[in-house]
Symmetry: C2
Subunit: 770 residues, 2 copies
Amino acid sequence: MKKNLFYLCLFLIISSCKTDLNGNLTKVSTLEELNTAINNAKPGDQIVLANGTYKDAEIKFTGEGKDGEPITLKAETPGKVFIEGESSLEISGNYLEVNGLFFRNGHSPKANVIAFRTNEKDVANHSKVTNCVILDFNNLERDQDNLWVQLYGKHNELSNCYIAGKTNGGPTVRVDLKGNQSIRNYHKIINNHFGPRPRKGGARGETIQLGSSFTSMSPSNTLIANNLFEECNGEVEIISSKTNFNIIKNNVFYKSEGSVVTRHGNYVAVDGNYFIGDGENDQYGGIRIINTGHWVTNNLFYKIKGKNFRSPIAIMNGIPKSPLNRYNQVTDVVVAYNTFVDSDSPWQFGVGTNISQADVLPPSEIRSARPLRTEVVNNVIYNSKGDPNPIIEHDKADGVTFASNIIDNNGVEIKNSYGLISKELTLTDIGTDLSVPTSGFDDVEEYNGFDFETITEDLLGNSRSKSNQIGAILNVENINLNLLDKSKYGADWYSNEVEAKEPITHTVSNASELVAKLQEAESGDIIDLSFGVFTIDESLIIDKSITIKSSGDGKAQIIFSGKENTPLFQLSPYGKLTLKQVILEGNNSNYAFASLKKNMSNHFGLNVSECEISNFNYVLRVYKQAFSEEITFKNTSIADCENGIELSEETNDRGDYNTEYLTIDNCNFNNVKQNVVDYYRGGYDESTIGGNLLITNSTFTNCGEKEKNKRLFNHNGIVNVNINNNTFKNNKVQFVSILWGAKNNVESNNTIINSGEIKTEENLVMTLMY
Amino acid sequence: MKKNLFYLCLFLIISSCKTDLNGNLTKVSTLEELNTAINNAKPGDQIVLANGTYKDAEIKFTGEGKDGEPITLKAETPGKVFIEGESSLEISGNYLEVNGLFFRNGHSPKANVIAFRTNEKDVANHSKVTNCVILDFNNLERDQDNLWVQLYGKHNELSNCYIAGKTNGGPTVRVDLKGNQSIRNYHKIINNHFGPRPRKGGARGETIQLGSSFTSMSPSNTLIANNLFEECNGEVEIISSKTNFNIIKNNVFYKSEGSVVTRHGNYVAVDGNYFIGDGENDQYGGIRIINTGHWVTNNLFYKIKGKNFRSPIAIMNGIPKSPLNRYNQVTDVVVAYNTFVDSDSPWQFGVGTNISQADVLPPSEIRSARPLRTEVVNNVIYNSKGDPNPIIEHDKADGVTFASNIIDNNGVEIKNSYGLISKELTLTDIGTDLSVPTSGFDDVEEYNGFDFETITEDLLGNSRSKSNQIGAILNVENINLNLLDKSKYGADWYSNEVEAKEPITHTVSNASELVAKLQEAESGDIIDLSFGVFTIDESLIIDKSITIKSSGDGKAQIIFSGKENTPLFQLSPYGKLTLKQVILEGNNSNYAFASLKKNMSNHFGLNVSECEISNFNYVLRVYKQAFSEEITFKNTSIADCENGIELSEETNDRGDYNTEYLTIDNCNFNNVKQNVVDYYRGGYDESTIGGNLLITNSTFTNCGEKEKNKRLFNHNGIVNVNINNNTFKNNKVQFVSILWGAKNNVESNNTIINSGEIKTEENLVMTLMY
């Protein structure tokens, strides 16, 4: 008997190690060895990349594995194999697997960092990239669009990867469907951690894009499941589904400034996802719906404050007989069994209607086709602070069936209820700081729509067959989710959680110390300037997060004697400067702050407060393709400069701009001759909603006399502009500002003395982007 | 043992008769009884309609049958139950079957004759209409569009029906996909005989339409198989596929003036069909391709002479970013394993390109997007008379892969061969008067495209797995098809083959005999007029096929003294008049020929030869909504009339017109003051190709003096115009004709004396139809 057991065990061991026993393991440590190993690989073989850094590695991994016997290319130790410099990975063949690589400190010389093909004909099938990391692998310029991962072929998988930090144009991940070899692909994008993608400033910043409008008629059947999307803020679309029959399921969208959008294509299932906001940031969105046949079921929206295009459920108006790349009408859509907690105006219809813009847009741009044959049923809304408008009709929702929806609005009356049933509900703690109503409505009979018997489970996977009820979550005991446990997503060897580091303060008392310490300091450190004058003659490079401030009671003064058209502070990639209580003085021909003229491969930042700035040619000059998430001037005076704050070089009219937020608060501008505030966005795009200009509590005197277009502020194309509580005195301009009425451009409480006027134009004539 | 056998037999009998034994059989003979029976029907029940005629029967057949136990509504004797008058059939529920009904002598008061739903919500599923006939069940007016059979719901079947004679607007059969209850329908339209559908004159005359552009994003999965399409001449599209994943398989398209068109929607399989022409009629077409992902395989094209839009394989140019209802680009299409015998220029690319019309059409109408990623491979072409242009590029075919195609061009050099391999082939008789090359090319290696392993069979269902070869038909012994055996299609109790009847000649010698005999005569008969004068004071009703001619040597004369604006010959539905060797004289205020002013529920026809016509207000006046396939005047003189041939009332600009062919051959027009020839088509449609005007060998003298627009001939919008070998003398007009250069308008060998000129305008400014 013991002997038998031994043989059984042996058999089991051999069986379970089949791959290892059958295949060869080849360890390689150079690219040449790697290529040789790839060329020789047979089904079941493993190629092991020795730990180390591989620079300028353009890896082509081709081969023919078999089902159960893949050819594997893996790191000796996952996370200890670094792909750097000008590097890329291309894969084609069948049953190939890549495991454990770390792409960092570089960028791809090609259109992709990882491509599931090696040329137009040769694609990968049944292959996967797993347990890898791609971090900040950005092209040198924002306008050099690329895709970090592009899937071609069929039945491929991107799983358990951590991917973050893309700042250049182009979706992070895209599924390509051009050619019959890539349709009905059944790709899986699962268990990944999509870490922060900073705001890009304009379009082309999606985290995942499934196809394009040109392949929007193709069946894709891609699955995006069980991923964590964390701070995916690239643009308004986190996932842009542009093909048919995709499934977006059980993902967590955490503090991500965008929406899941069924942009093109049809019959997409968006089922069982978590959209988690903070109850404050109104950029966090939900699901925006365009086209036909989508099913939005079992989703939870928690403290989502996105409005209009970013509202939890945004059902758009279409363009009648829409062009292929625009907006088809919404028809045959089902929105059922979802739960909305403390999410503002969660149901919005006719989003994007622009009938009023018929004067400035061609007929083929007018979104007037309202949703048809659409059902919004069996949903639950809970508002701890009542919402008078849970349903907003930008255009009539007369093609929508509402039934069996309930609301606890905490006593606040609803203007437009469409049959919402009022209830008093209690909340259940389900973990992850989520409190959700799961009971108190079992007396409401569910609306039974066509094919609703296919909605077999709730958000947590519990069966709806026995005691079904409306809303995303059935009433079961002891729910304790741990959605934000990051170890559940991404590469098992990588965490994006960094330990907080105590900043070091470096005190400097003369110019050369300042230069030396600035170089020496680590990101996050502080440089204290002793009281006195620092004369600087070459630009100070800002390429990390750094704070420079006066140490004591009086303000230190920096006099910049550098060459004309060079900046005192050279804002470089990753350079985030906080400047406090400092006097800056130029020689009238040089600049206070400027970005690099090129190769701004990552974003910069600028926060200036309690400073005095004078005698510069430019206060701030931001060049094309440079981008900052935030630029702030606060409690600061700016005087006797030829140019002020200049962010107007994104003139290619692709919808780009140079900063997401530009804030001027309690500042004093005096004798700034032109470009006092010049912030430009060219190219009309109805869905993106930046930039943001706030000018408040400030005074502008004797400014703008050289401004050719006679406007003190130029902010053409910026979507959100707020000018309030300022005083304008003796500025030689015709207009303080011309506001864009159709967008969110507003002014209030300004005092204008001998400074022209603030005018509002409802519609701006702009270049269409597409 | 015997006993056991007995019980076994009993068991088998009971099993096989399960339905009959379980269900009730209810015989009904009134609509009231029918309704009661329907209300009471249980799964397995049969409702038998007693033989007889049911007038104005609006039947609603609702019920819940079961799989294997349908509720059946059937004729007592198939074909002996007539549904007439204002009648319709609507079906909803599950597992319902209708069998053996004959719809004739009437029309539907509703939008459909047969609808697979009873209202917007209640559709039929798993239901069928089989073994029925719908014949000439036309609405009273051509413009009263309807659909004879409309399928809704899922898994329904239209089988073994004979359907013919639709003359009013609207497809004969349509599958509707509005609403999730009707997508992925898997309907079967099988084994039917679609008999002659006369030319409609303009659009909206399809035999089958699958969805519409508004549902063109929906999966349909409809199967159209094993049907015979005979003389389906309604318009340019016989089958208009407008949805996705349809299968069109093993059908016979016999002498049908149109094409199978993948008009909207994508991924349609057109496999194993027979397109059979006569080698002469250039209206018989093949397959016209628009959109993405279609597979055209295993089809045989035999003596198909269609050109351009109707060519055997017509691959269109698309509109870049096309509007929903226009032309998407062709991408990812496969045309493989087809055989073309004596079919002119079978492969045409860039069909519909209209870059040259950029001046008269908006940009959203310009078809400039050439096919992409398209494969034309493994095909065989045989031309017994060589064709110098088997491939025509209306625009470049640079996105098309050509490979492994062969041709036997009988020695004629090919200008543009794209790698066609020349061979000498022999033909094999495969029955049905078809001789096809099936051998002689097994040395040509097949091109192996992506997924080509799914092309498992040839046109005849023989496996390609063992000895595959290019072309539609594998080289097997003793093929003897009997494709045109009509007993294989349609209702088993109905044949459209009529025995030739010997016409009866009725001789009449005075007016009252003429009136009496005309009424008495049967369709096809001849009325011989004795030499002499017939004075007629009321219109003669022509409502059948009739020939009226002079019996002897001299021409009889008919003097019409009827009221003003009434015609001598009242051309009524089904009225086809052949008039020969007769003199017609009016009173200057009445008409020689006219259609009905309304209720022209079927087409008329007119053929006038060797006649002399004078002193009418109108020679021919055709009112709106009246249509004739052919109107011919030959060897006839027309003199001293206020108006000539007037067919210009189709002014709604929907692309309609009043006759398909208008021919004036060897005629003599003298002193016809206006509307000499006035033939109008309004509404631009790029794909339809009528009407047809031929004016040849004729003389026009002193005509047109009252014509307001100073043109002798008005034929605005008529696509085919040929004016040749005529003499024009002293006609007081500015233009004899203004030809439409972009379409097929030509003139030659005309002599023009003091009669203005013939001018050609390349592009006509017209109303767009859609």
